[in-house]
């Protein structure tokens, strides 16, 4: 196990480097410079001042020098200063936004897996029945509905028309004075809409995967054996089949990270949730290069960590993986 872990950790280094190269290339090889953006607003800026700005941001140096300097600073977790007027370090900006996004996404993941796994199992057991077909269409419907559209409709129905649920932010006005428990409930109340939309939209991948994994396991010989020796169907499914079928589903955890980050941009924009998605959207719109680069690197890095975690979980549960040459 220790060997496997070490191998996986070493593998991460070139991948991380690759992530920084792609991020740098994406931002620096597209035309238009951040300075242009700041200068274009002001016709009185002279060529001299423009040069000074370029020098200030280090944009006058050759690309590889800029890249090496940037990576060198990244290694010390210094993502540079935001181009926004406040000029704060990018790390601070991201740090204060990450907890919100991370906790919302973790809850969303728990809901997603908690609902999708039973759906997949039941669909597999009741294969080709109306129940299976109904659930198939249901999860695909969630996948097909544009999340922002569903969010808008629900906000209109439950927020505006019925007035049952809050439609933006995380806290009620003046909730600062509430006790801890009441603040928590207030937040949960604000999260009902965003979480339902996010969960409904993401059921398909996991439940379909669970269904096919289950179907594959159920056709194995050891399941036939278990049935043949007279175990109840309940024991066969829950003890013998489900445990084995769950394993590959774990790997989906890591893969779902990029989608969650992309989804956060839309959800946080619609529901005005002050998280990383909103920060990223604002940064992209303002061409805040250091911020955008920081978020891209951290987002891709989180995916790498997610993949590592799910692979470790997998290897931990299934000795065939860690003993194989993988």
């Amino acid at each position: 196990m220790a060997n496997y872990l070490l191998k996986r950790l070493i593998m991460m280094v070139p991948l991380l480097l690759g992530i920084t190269i792609i991020t740098f290339a994406v931002v620096h090889l597209t035309p238009g410079e951040p300075v242009e953006m700041q200068v274009a607003m002001n016709p009185r800026v002279t060529a001299e001042a423009r040069e000074r700005l370029r020098k200030f941001y280090g944009l006058d140096q050759p690309l590889h020098v800029q890249y090496l300097k940037w990576v060198g600073r990244l290694a010390k977790l210094d993502f540079g200063r935001s181009f926004a007027p406040d000029g704060r370090p990018v790390v601070d900006k991201i740090k204060e936004r990450i907890p919100v996004t991370l906790s919302i996404n973790i809850i969303a993941l728990l809901l997603e897996f908690g609902l999708a796994i039973p759906i997949g199992v039941v669909a597999a057991i009741r294969r080709d029945t109306p129940l299976d077909k109904g659930m198939t269409v249901f999860v695909f419907l969630g996948f097909s509905i544009p999340t922002f559209w569903l969010a808008l409709l629900l906000m209109y129905l439950f927020g505006v028309k019925l007035g049952w649920l809050p439609i933006s932010g995380l806290h009620s006005f003046g909730s600062g004075g509430f006790g801890f428990l009441r603040q928590l409930c207030d937040m949960a109340w604000h999260l009902i809409l965003p979480l339902s939309v996010a969960t409904f939209g993401s059921l398909a991948a996991v439940s379909r995967y669970m269904r096919s994994s289950m179907l594959e396991v159920v056709s194995q010989d050891y399941i036939t054996t278990a049935r043949a020796k007279g175990l109840s169907e309940r024991t066969v499914i829950l003890k013998h089949a489900l445990r084995n079928a769950l394993l590959p589903v774990v790997t989906l955890l890591g893969f779902s990270v990029p989608g969650l980050i992309g989804g956060s941009v839309i959800m946080e924009t619609i529901f005005s949730i002050p998280g990383m998605g909103q920060l990223a959207y604002g940064g992209v719109m303002a061409r805040d290069y250091p911020l955008v680069m920081g978020i891209l690197v951290i987002g891709a890095g989180l995916t790498l960590v997610g993949n590592l975690l799910s692979d470790i979980l997998y290897a931990f549960a299934d000795p065939r993986i860690r003993l194989g040459k993988g």
Binding site: W149, Y156, I266, I295, A300, T303
Partner: protein, 284 residues
């Protein structure tokens, strides 16, 4: 068509036909193609002719889906928008398929260090939250329909590359490849004449799903204000323009959203149907 091919198609078709959802989805897609290609003959309105006397009128016999804030017929714009949204979907997926197939073929066929380098590149690209990447690149350039298609394509080929590579790895070891090599066929010839056609079936499924994904991505970009720029109608930007009028003109938001949902759902159901019909494990 050889006997083997004819047989495979008939097996495929027999299985696909049994899947009612996939058939319905297929019928919807075909209808959509017919509607959007006949657009000018179907509707008496122009997609961008203004009618300021009939602004935000609810659905009626004259305007089945109502009119928008500039008095344009919503149904007409949705039909014309289908052209744009489908074009975005197909071209973006086409780009992704070409890149993914070439990388997958080369990596799988040559293996060794070529394979390692290419697959690590795939691993790296797959880590990025592609929506954020698309967002960043499009705002730094400009949100033209062309840029959107290219960038969605450039960020969504990785799955295809992995699929094709896996397929090639098993095809490479077959006797007919050995035979081709023995009679002195060149690598490119073997790859494109013998490996490629046999590695394509999983790509078909992911292409179908990819079109659906690209349509959704375009609409999400439009929602954030950087999709296909108006006045060209796309489902995304029709929907987005309706967002401010949701309270008193629900039809402006409802219909384009339904169009997206139904179309994307149809593609998914067809994709699933194709996947099941191609799956040899279901033969048993």
């Amino acid at each position: 068509m050889s006997f083997r091919e004819t047989y495979m198609y008939s097996v495929f078709w027999r299985r696909f036909r049994k899947n009612r959802f996939a058939l319905i989805g297929g019928a919807i897609i075909v209808t959509l193609f017919i509607l959007s290609s006949l657009a000018p003959h179907l509707t008496p309105y122009e997609p961008d002719s203004l009618d300021l006397y009939h602004v935000l009128t609810p659905p009626s016999s004259a305007h089945w889906f109502g009119t928008d804030d500039l008095g344009r017929d919503v149904l007409t714009r949705i039909i014309y928008g289908a052209r744009v949204s489908l074009k975005v979907g197909f071209i973006a997926v086409g780009i992704a398929m070409v890149i993914g197939t070439v990388i997958g073929l080369v990596a799988g066929y040559y293996s060794g260090w070529v394979d390692s380098v290419l697959m690590r590149f795939v691993d790296i690209m797959i880590c990025f939250p592609s929506f954020l990447l698309i967002l960043a690149v499009i705002t730094m350039r400009e949100p033209s329909i062309w840029n959107i298609m290219v960038i969605i394509g450039l960020t969504s080929w990785m799955g295809v590359a992995r699929l094709v590579r896996a397929e090639v790895l098993s095809i490479r070891e077959r006797d007919y490849i050995m035979a081709a090599r023995a009679i002195g066929a060149s690598d490119p010839r073997i790859i494109f004449r013998h490996v490629f056609p046999n590695a394509m079936s999983p790509v078909l499924v992911s292409a179908t799903l990819g079109v659906a994904g690209a349509i959704l991505t375009e609409s999400a970009l439009s929602f954030l204000g950087i999709g296909v720029p108006p006045p060209t109608p796309s489902w995304g930007n029709i929907l987005t323009s309706g967002k401010e009028y949701l309270e008193f003109a629900w039809w402006l938001t409802l219909f384009p959203g339904l169009a997206i949902t139904v179309t994307v759902l149809s593609y998914y159901l067809v994709g699933e149907g194709v996947r099941d019909a191609l799956d040899p494990r279901l033969n048993r």
